[in-house]
Symmetry: C2
Subunit: 136 residues, 2 copies
């Protein structure tokens, strides 16, 4: 067990103590994590970390997102301060989305998870296949 995990263990104790009931219901980390935990949030963060994109470009970049969810996810990311939305007065008007400083900062952490996923996605797929084979 490495030091990070030991460190977290003590953090968890703190949460449980603070929340009073010995549970996670008031954990302030939850709302932040849930903001990133949407189906499309991390994917859009990945795209915008690369460079700013316009609405239509994002739609083409992530073809299986519905226009409705693209609108809504970008709105939520903007609301949480990760994404900046700028309208340019072209004809027709174009809208550019980019990461804020807070967004770049958050992406630095999210990036670790993405790197892990890159390295281990075959292990996860393997586990999934084994499990399905064993359980039916």
């Amino acid at each position: 067990m490495d030091s990070k995990i030991v460190n977290l263990r003590s953090k968890l104790e703190v949460y449980k103590a603070v929340s009073g009931g010995g549970n996670f219901s008031n954990c302030p980390v939850r709302e932040v994590i849930q903001g990133v935990s949407g189906k499309w949030s991390s994917l859009l963060m990945m795209a915008l970390a690369e460079q700013p994109y316009r609405f239509g470009e994002l739609r083409r970049l992530v073809p299986d997102i519905s226009q409705r969810m693209l609108t809504q996810t970008l709105y939520d990311l903007q609301r949480d301060g990760y994404v900046h939305r700028e309208v340019f007065p072209t004809k027709p008007p174009s809208v550019e989305y980019s990461l804020t400083d807070l967004g770049h900062s958050m992406f630095g952490a999210l990036h670790q998870l993405i790197l892990w996923a890159e390295l281990n996605h075959d292990a996860v797929r393997g586990a999934r296949a084994d499990f399905d084979a064993a359980q039916g």
Copy 2:
């Protein structure tokens, strides 16, 4: 812009090249991230990184999860190889959930995001409040 982000930029170029259509639809990272992106997944990973827990303990630890979603999320985490499920022949039988090696490894990466959330949740809340105040 730090080196991590520059590094990722090149990674993204690779994905777009590989997928053929210049988009994210085949990105292998997506399925891994989505496995962690469930509403309850990261919370249960946090709990189990602390120590193994039994079903009822987890339910008490996360009081606002329904029994149905607790069952299902644990099942999914087990299927992806992050969680080990062990039944003890007590009366009545008890079931213990713990992280596998893969689960601990993944949590190491998720941990970065959790630490970020700890440090920045007030900034996110502030952004949210500002946005709501401005937009109505």
